[in-house]
């Protein structure tokens, strides 16, 4: 069974289309890059999978189920923004994940935070923006989820932080699980990708297995992306 399957998926904000008739199946156990320029519909697609948005038309299935309470229990979602109340302590965030997500591995979260030197009794508002983002990433990746949705995890961070984030994703995600990672920074994520989906103006431009496409075209995903989304 596909980890994610969507058929004719369409989302409009008023009259403006964000996704137009997207149909694709994403296999389980792969790291898939959702790649596209700004405004291509990546975040909208991820929000629909996370259950935050309802599609205007079409259907989406996550491990055979429509987005809802049951899929939320198996999807680990990292949004672009800080979702925790800044007044919370890291230990409060851990407790919240432990209470709501049966697949949350608290020991693993504490180990990763310890490696980062983040005090669990510290308040989020006392941390730098980068540290807060790392706390959020650690909590999301410490779940033994079936599907990880990572929306622009490396956008707006320095190269060292990018390395840390990509390392965390590769080493922490549950084997057999699927990772969907949206970004427009192809060069940074290309080494870890098994598959890719190019989204442009809300439509799937190209998708497939990263290795196969590289062999067939003789180009890296980054080169292919620049070719497909050339601005002039």
């Amino acid at each position: 069974m596909a980890a994610v399957a969507c058929y004719g998926l369409t989302k409009r904000y008023g009259s403006a289309p964000a996704l137009s008739d997207v149909s694709l199946e994403l296999p389980a156990g792969k790291i898939i890059g959702l790649l596209g320029p700004n405004g291509s519909g990546k975040t909208t697609f991820i929000k629909i999978l996370a259950g935050l948005l309802k599609p205007t038309a079409g259907a989406v299935l996550i491990h055979g189920e429509e987005p809802g309470v049951r899929t939320k229990a198996m999807v680990s979602y990292l949004p672009e923004r800080m979702v925790f109340d800044p007044g919370m302590r890291v230990s409060d965030c851990i407790e919240l994940f432990r209470d709501f997500y049966g697949d949350f591995d608290e020991r693993r979260a504490r180990e990763m935070l310890s490696v980062l030197g983040v005090p669990v009794d510290g308040k989020l508002k006392t941390f730098s923006k980068g540290t807060r983002e790392k706390v959020q990433l650690v909590l999301v990746m410490a779940r033994r989820a079936k599907l990880y949705l990572l929306d622009e995890p490396i956008g707006g961070v320095d190269p060292a932080a990018r390395d840390f984030i990509l390392h965390t994703i590769v080493t922490a995600y549950e084997p057999g699980a699927t990772v969907i990672l949206s970004t427009h920074l192809i060069r940074d994520v290309e080494p870890i990708l098994d598959g890719f989906v190019f989204l442009g103006s809300g439509s799937v431009i190209m998708s497939g297995d990263a290795e196969t496409v590289r062999a067939d075209t003789g180009k890296s995903l980054d080169e292919l992306f620049r070719e497909v989304f050339r601005c002039w």
Binding site: L52, V69, P79, R81, V83, D99, F100
Partner: protein, 280 residues
């Protein structure tokens, strides 16, 4: 899940509400000494009524009392506003990305928020009652024998009146509870509706919708309430016959109206949270 949601929402409220409770406690202590001052001055124990400074001291004591009451009222208002600010933040702003990806139903989300808000509002009410009790104690201690006798008579009369009308007392309490529940869901429903119909300036839209819904609901309920108060049929059907005003009948009407509106706004809040959530 409801219990877990309640626990985390209660904790989130505590981060902002505990300072307000501390402020109420501090104001109550100030109020206690102010009442000692007011009652002592009023009864002539602190200063003679013929003294030149008497009017000034009495004015200061009365002004202080007014300020204390204003501060307590403001603290309760702040408490209520903070309840809805927390609701808005967790349902519409960045925090909503977490709220709406928890594996819980929209009904559980809204229900847990209502329960934790109710508990914090109850705490506020208890704090305010204790503050009033402390100030009353100060007044009794400094008010002299005459004041104590007058107060004892007043309380005695009040208790007798309540004991004679247990059904009215029960209906009054029930009416207050239903009205507060209706207010909560009316405001949460309006916040979610306001924030769901615009893509920008959601806070402004939410506040505007709270006032708009409040205006419409008050207009409609006042028609029912006034007609009921005047002793006419609430639905204006037929020529309507005059009947004696009954507080119990009026309270029952209010309870029914409140319960219906509470149910409607509950349904509206849950439906918006489930179907058309629109996060910033």
């Amino acid at each position: 899940m409801l219990v877990k949601l309640f626990k985390h929402d209660f904790r989130a409220h505590s981060r902002v509400q505990i300072p307000v409770l501390i402020a109420i406690a501090a104001t109550a202590i100030l109020g206690f000494f102010n009442m000692l001052f007011l009652a002592g001055t009023g009864s002539g124990q602190l200063i003679s009524e013929e003294s030149d400074g008497y009017p000034l001291m009495l004015s200061a004591a009365i002004g202080g009392t007014l300020l204390i009451f204003l501060a307590l009222g403001a603290a309760m208002t702040v408490m209520a506003v903070l309840i809805f600010v927390r609701f808005y933040r967790s349902m519409v702003t960045d925090e909503a990305y977490l709220t709406f990806t928890l594996p819980v139903t929209a009904g559980q989300l809204i229900g847990a928020k209502f329960l934790s808000s109710a508990v914090w509002f109850f705490y506020g009410g208890v704090a305010l009652t204790l503050a009033g009790g402390l100030m009353y104690t100060g007044a009794v201690l400094a008010g002299g024998e005459e004041f104590r006798v007058a107060m004892t008579e007043l309380w005695g009369d009040l208790i007798d009146t309540l004991a004679e009308n247990p059904l009215t007392v029960f209906l009054l309490v029930l009416c207050c509870i239903v009205t507060m529940i209706r207010w909560y869901f009316q405001i949460t429903g309006a916040i979610l509706f306001g924030a769901s119909v615009v893509r920008k300036n959601k806070a402004l839209a939410a506040v505007g919708m709270v006032f708009a819904v409040n205006f419409v609901v008050n207009l409609v309920t006042s028609i029912f309430s006034t007609s009921s108060l005047l002793g006419y049929s609430i639905l204006f059907m037929g020529a309507v016959e005059y009947r004696d005003f009954s507080p119990n009948a009026w309270l029952i009407t209010q309870i029914c109206i409140g319960a219906v509106l509470a149910a409607v706004f509950w349904w509206m809040s849950v439906r918006i949270a489930k179907k058309s959530v629109n996060i910033e």
